[in-house]
Structures are given as structure tokens and as C-alpha cells.
Amino acid sequence: MKKSRWQVPLTLVFIFMGILISLQFQAQSRIASDLTMQRTENLIAMVRGLSDKRQKLAVEIVDLNQQLRSQMESYRDETKLKTNLKAELDKLNILTGNTPLEGSGLTITISQNMPVLYIDLIHITNELWAAGAEAISINEYRITNNTSIFFGEEELSNVITVNNHRLSFPIIIRALGDSNNLEKGLTMPGGIMDRLALFNAYPFLEQAESLTIPASQDVHYNYFLKEYKPPENEPAINTADPHIPDNPASLRI
């Protein structure tokens, strides 16, 4: 009699625990990158980001079609053709940093007494790009595709370098774009400014009506890169591949 009284609750405990553990295991392994497991506010943020992107892509398509039409019409008109090519060149030079630019935007000033590391500058520029910055400079250096932000050692202390140029204080980051959006991108709760505040670094943000951003000074040589021309009658590389990787995490949606 004594024994059976013990057995029943014990069995129950084990069964119960078994179920809980397996449930927990399931919950755990599903968390990582499954969309349905994300917080609602994050999903809303994603929807917003994607809607913005769709909007921009739609504008881009209209622009490109216009360009295409204009290019066809100017087939025999050399001056018009030249204007078209020039216009596109100007646009792409915003990306390559070949020309100085002006416009509205945001300046971020970091003074010498703030404990800011090179990695913080990488995060600040990353956030600025995410917030729709069109061009960025740090002090007199334009940030492009190939710009490296790193550190160097000098007189027993670390200095931040941009393309191996030592940055002197105050460090002034200038970004062109919608100044409100740029500021919001940096100051959102839990964002880069909050993180810097933990280390008692409070960079000074200021929206500006008119900013000038210098052209890139460093000539970047490409020793290895060449244009890739896909073989005839075959689609360009991976265009057939879906953008969303076909890994099991995304299949669960």
C-alpha cells in the first residue's frame, strides 16, 4: 500500500516533466529566425520598411523607364544623348564619392573627451545609411563602398583611422538626407545613441539646412575586380535564386 501511494504521484511528475521539457525544446529551437516568432512591433517595423522599399522601387522603375525612352529618342541626337549620360554619371558619382555634394542633413559632433571607438563610428554610419542617408563624410573623408574605418596605435593610445588617415578631434560626421529621419535613426530607443550614453558619450546632433560633403580623396585601385559578363543565353548569376534563402527557418512561415 505504501509503495503504490508513492508511485502514482512520482509517475505523474515524470510524465508532466517530460511533456514540459519537450514543449520547451520545441519553443527553443523555433525562436531563432522564424518570422512568426518575432515580436509584433518588429513585424510592424518590417512591414513599414518593406512598404517604403516598394515605394522607392516603384519610383525607380518609373525613372528608369523614362531614361530608357529618352535614350531611345535621342538615338540620333548627340547633345541629348550626352545630357542623358552625364545625368546618370552624376547620379552614380554620389555613390562612388567622385564629386563633392551639398544638401540638407545631419551633423554629429564627437569631442575628444567622449569614449568613442572606431566600432561606434561604424555603427553610426551603418545607422545613417539605414535611415536613408545619401552620402556621409567623417571629418574631411568621404565614406564610400571601400572606406575602411579602423584604429591605429599612437603614443600609447588608440586613434581612429579612416582609410588609414588618423582622425583628429572633434570628429564631425556629416550625412545628407532627410534630417528628421536621420536623427530618428540614431536616437531611437535602444539605438546607437542610447548605447553610447551607457559609456557617458553624448555626441551632439544638429540638423542642417545646407551641408557640404567633400569628394573622396583616396584613389582606390581595384586589382582583382572585373565586370562579369554571364555567358550568352543564360540568365545573370543567381537571378533565378529567390532572395529569401530557402533554408528551413523561412519555410516554417
Binding site: V13, Q38, L50, G103, I122, N126
Partner: protein, 237 residues
């Protein structure tokens, strides 16, 4: 008699409350267990629809850009030809064309085995975060990378690497593990800097990491928008 019942009952209660507490903690991570999940399902549907539409748009953009390039490269005469050549050069530099060359291919993945072995641990310790990718990319740039893509998203000047919750976005496009970073540049320099940097850190934490030197790394073109509404070239140039 009463006491003999009491002891097992107490044990049952203690154990089950512990388990329940654990379970609740886990559910908190995902925060959308029951009432919200329907709303989330709707949001996920919207996200999937938007992504499909965006993919369509990107293909369209790629096609028009190709047509445009073909047109732009047809006429060949004197001064115009110079302009054409310059435009083509700038297109390659800015990431509008697919490129190829010597380089390395890096893959990093979530450490899911570790998570399975320690189901009670914080799952954030076992997944790749956007910071890891951002560090990899910035180290590659220090190593003189000439072109970089992550899971077929070409990085251009204005590209960002971010996360929303645990989902990583590049060029506002969702990418999922395993992450493949393709780089064109000196394989030796790139491998040295990345092996002593972020990859070393990931390896120490047992993340599955591979690095391969290749003679021809192919990197796709940027397919997104290029809209500049706030920047103007400084006049008087």
C-alpha cells in the same frame, strides 16, 4: 498517513511550478504565444506578399538597367565614347554590374547544436547577429575588399546591415542563415585579417564557420533603388 501524502504532493508542486516558470520564460522570448499570434500571422502574410512584390520589382529594374546599358553602349563616336567608357567604369565601381575576380567566400551559421544541447540557455548566444556580419564586412574593407555580397545582396555605398528582432536585413531585404559572404580582393590579405578577427571570435564560440579562397568569385549586381532627393553636386565644378 497524512504526512506521507504531503511530501510527494509538495515535491510535485515544486517541480511543476519550476517547469511552468521555465516554460513561461521561454514563451516570453517570443511574446506572441496565443492572442497575438493571429495578428502576427497576418503580418507575416503581408511581409511575404511585400517581399514577393519587391522581388518582382527588382527583376524589372535589373532588366531595364540591362536594356539601358545596351543602348548606352551602342553608339560609338569620339567624345561620346569617352563618356560612355566613364559611365561604364562608374557603374562597375558603384555596384550596378555583376563582377568577378579572385577572392574568398565565407560562410557563417547559427550554432544550433549548441542551442539544442543547452535548451535552457539564452538562445541569443547561439545565433549570428547583425553585428557579427557588420564586423566581418568592416574587417574585409580594412583588408582592401573590392566588392562584397551577403547572401546575394550586393553591398554598395549606401547598404546597411541591420536587424529587426532576430531577423537580419541587408538592403532592407531579409536574409536568413547560413550567411554566405563573398568578397573580391587579395585572398591572402583578406583571409589573414578575417581569420584573426571576427571569424576567430566566432570559432571560439563554436559557430560553424568556413573560409574558402577562390580564383573566381562571382558577385551579383545591386538590384535596388538609387533615389537621391537631398544631394546635389556642388556647383562651379
Amino acid at each position: 498517513m497524512k504526512q506521507k501524502w504531503l511530501l510527494p504532493l509538495t515535491i510535485v508542486c515544486i517541480i511543476s511550478s519550476f517547469s511552468l516558470a521555465f516554460q513561461l520564460k521561454i514563451l516570453n522570448y517570443s511574446s506572441n504565444s496565443n492572442p497575438l499570434s493571429e495578428k502576427n500571422t497576418n503580418l507575416v502574410t503581408i511581409i511575404n506578399d511585400l517581399e514577393a512584390e519587391i522581388k518582382e520589382q527588382e527583376n524589372q529594374i535589373e532588366k531595364i538597367r540591362n536594356d539601358l546599358s545596351t543602348l548606352q553602349n551602342q553608339q560609338v563616336e569620339g567624345e561620346l565614347q569617352e563618356l560612355q567608357d566613364e559611365l561604364q567604369k562608374v557603374k562597375i565601381l558603384s555596384g550596378l554590374t555583376p563582377v568577378s575576380g579572385k577572392g574568398i567566400v565565407i560562410t557563417v551559421d547559427d550554432y544550433s547544436q549548441g542551442l539544442q544541447a543547452n535548451p535552457n540557455d539564452d538562445p541569443n548566444k547561439y545565433i549570428i547577429h547583425y553585428e557579427n556580419l557588420l564586423n566581418i564586412v568592416s574587417e574585409l574593407k580594412v583588408g582592401g575588399a573590392e566588392a562584397i555580397s551577403i547572401n546575394d545582396q550586393r553591398l554598395i555605398t549606401t547598404s546597411e546591415i541591420r536587424c529587426v528582432g532576430n531577423v537580419i536585413l541587408v538592403n532592407t531585404t531579409r536574409i536568413a542563415p547560413p550567411f554566405e559572404v563573398r568578397v573580391i580582393g587579395s585572398p591572402k590579405i583578406l583571409a589573414e585579417i578575417i581569420n584573426n578577427g571576427e571569424l576567430e571570435i566566432l570559432r571560439t564560440s563554436n559557430f560553424p564557420v568556413t573560409l574558402e579562397e577562390q580564383n573566381e568569385v562571382i558577385i551579383p549586381a545591386y538590384k535596388g533603388e538609387l533615389q537621391f532627393n537631398y544631394s546635389q553636386a556642388v556647383k562651379g565644378d
